[in-house]
């Protein structure tokens, strides 16, 4: 199957927006959903919606099988050893917060260091700021190269024997940089620190193997990889998770409850308080089936082509600044001279083209880039070179429009 055929599996793309065929270039914010995922959710709610792990009845068993079956799919998808290491969360943000609140608060103290980078998404900055404030630990940043990449010698210099946690995104949602996680994890471990990876922008696009990366924690969201919103995953090494306290307490996560004391279920359920995100997990399982059917290698190859083509076409325009390294994941963040990114996005929207404009939840990175906002076009398996041609034509229109009115 080719990209043109993959596209047909996404019903939402077959529509007009503002009188023009929709060109969706905002998949780094959230991806669209293939018919297989939509039908899986529909089937769940129509045929076997029920609570898990508690009902004796048939529907309860089917729902539990679906939910736990999805956990096994996730385990395989990221190459984890055991389903005990796969915790369903609300998304990447909740997953990182869980590690910060549980591992971070318990294991850090004054004099300790947390190391991150200036390119992180707010969700991989603020939880660590909070840990630092509460524990007295120091939050340090690995400096970036001028092209928005990380040099391992800077990692060596920043991570010290006082570092307890290193947390880095695998793929930047703004620069498209693909970070050398395996090498950074090795440096973290050499210094006795644990390695957390924000995989929100990598898991949808490239084959992740948590054992090969040798990271201690890995977080990602279903909605950026053809799955539903409201569900994500925290992977953690079993030895670490076993020692960590839950951060949410209540139903589903308990073993025994007394009047004054309670004990927790075993992994992974001790981290899943309350009725879990059953439909979401089952939908994520369907998304994984879908992506594996197409093949992540094929997706990565297509995105690589699209990103290269987009950069080439953008460079034909005068006054375009592209942010980030040449070698990149499937997105292009840019600015047009004299046209503010919001205005770019509004003009493109009037042509049916959806892009993101703003700070992309990365204000420290915007500061590093010395801009207040940027525009971003991000690609996924349903995009084609035709989409990019339409996009570049839309940018010409924006330039002409603003050139004309001034």
């Amino acid at each position: 199957m080719s990209a043109k055929e993959w596209r047909k599996l996404f019903p939402i793309l077959d529509q007009e927006v503002n009188g023009k065929p929709l060109v969706y270039l905002d998949s780094a914010a959230t991806s669209q959903k293939p018919i297989q995922v939509i039908e899986t959710l529909e089937k769940y709610y129509k045929e076997y919606n029920s609570n898990v792990h508690r009902g004796v009845h048939t529907l309860g068993t089917r729902a539990t099988d679906g939910y736990e079956g999805a956990r096994e799919k996730v385990r395989r998808f990221i190459g984890a050893k055991s389903t005990q290491e796969i915790i369903f969360t609300r998304g990447t943000t909740t997953a990182i917060n869980t590690v910060a609140r549980s591992y971070g608060m318990a294991n850090l103290a004054e004099g300790d260091e947390i190391v991150i980078t200036p390119m992180e998404h707010h969700s991989n900055i603020i939880p660590w700021q909070q840990v630092a404030k509460t524990t007295g630990a120091t939050l340090k940043y690995i400096p970036l190269q001028p092209d928005g990449t990380i040099d391992l010698s800077d990692v060596e210099k920043t991570v010290t024997e006082h570092t307890k946690i290193v947390s880095v995104m695998q793929v930047s949602n703004v620069l498209g940089t693909i970070n050398p996680i395996k090498e950074i994890a090795a440096i973290a471990h050499k210094n006795g620190a644990v390695m957390m990876v924000d995989g929100a922008q990598s898991a949808p696009h490239l084959k992740v193997d948590v054992q090969d990366l040798d990271c201690d924690f890995f977080a990602f969201s279903a909605h950026k990889m053809c799955g539903p919103t409201g569900i994500g995953v925290l992977y953690g090494k079993k030895a670490l998770l076993n020692k960590m306290e839950p951060v949410e307490f209540g139903g589903e996560m308990i073993d025994f409850v007394g009047l004054q004391e309670s004990t927790w279920k075993e992994l992974p359920w001790k981290f899943e308080g309350g009725t879990p995100i059953i439909a979401g997990a089952i939908g994520l399982g369907a998304a994984i089936d879908f992506l594996e059917d197409i093949g992540l290698d094929n997706i990565l190859k297509l995105e690589h082509e699209l990103a290269g083509y987009a950069m080439e076409r953008l460079n034909e325009l005068d006054g375009v600044t592209i942010f980030g390294p040449k070698e990149r994941a499937g997105l292009v963040t840019f600015n047009l001279d004299d046209v503010h990114p919001h205005d770019v996005a509004t003009v493109l929207d009037s042509e049916g083209i959806a892009v993101r404009a703003g700070h992309h939840c990365a204000q420290p990175l915007m500061k590093w880039l010395d801009v207040s906002a940027t525009a971003r076009a991000s690609f996924y398996l349903y995009n084609t070179k035709d989409d990019i041609d339409t996009f570049v034509k839309g940018l010409r229109t924006a330039k002409e429009y603003f050139g004309h009115v001034f």
Binding site: D343, T346, S350, V405
Partner: protein, 146 residues
């Protein structure tokens, strides 16, 4: 090009964007309000000089798109010389205009502000246009508390 877009980017808006009125910072005991639009990164610093319940002077500085900066420029023009309560009433009229509601166009001279009417057709941009007005409201509110 769609006519909606032409309605959004009226000539007078572009003129305020390119040639902002009252750009800068008032010194000497002026009220200072910093406000940003956390979803998009637009940022305004508004300084107001209020004397005897009247806005004597208003200046703004900041970063943002054409709509937010043009709106800030127009707002400073419109509220200069108005009593605080009239400025607040004018803000309400402006919000009505942004929401696409019927609005009172008789009590005050809306002048250039009416050019921003087209923003109401672009829900994603309404917050750009209202940022400066929210800052003004916060400023005069602060003044009244003091």
């Amino acid at each position: 090009m769609s006519s909606n877009l032409d309605q959004l980017y009226r000539q007078v808006i572009m003129d305020h964007y390119k040639n902002p009125r009252n750009k800068g910072i008032l010194e000497d005991g002026a009220l200072t309000i910093n406000m940003n639009n956390p979803t998009c990164g637009d940022r305004i610093q508004l300084t107001l000089k209020v004397e005897d319940g009247k806005i004597e002077s208003a200046k703004f500085d900041g970063e943002g798109c054409s709509i937010s900066l043009a709106s800030a420029s127009m707002m400073t023009q419109a509220v200069k010389g108005l009593a605080v309560e009239d400025a607040v009433k004018l803000a309400k009229i402006f919000y009505d205009m942004m929401l696409g509601n019927d609005y009172d166009d008789e009590s005050y001279d809306l002048g250039d502000i009416e050019a921003l009417q087209g923003v109401s057709k672009f829900p994603a941009r309404i917050k750009c246009a209202t940022l400066a007005w929210k800052a003004m409201e916060q400023g005069v509110g602060k003044q009244e508390e003091e």
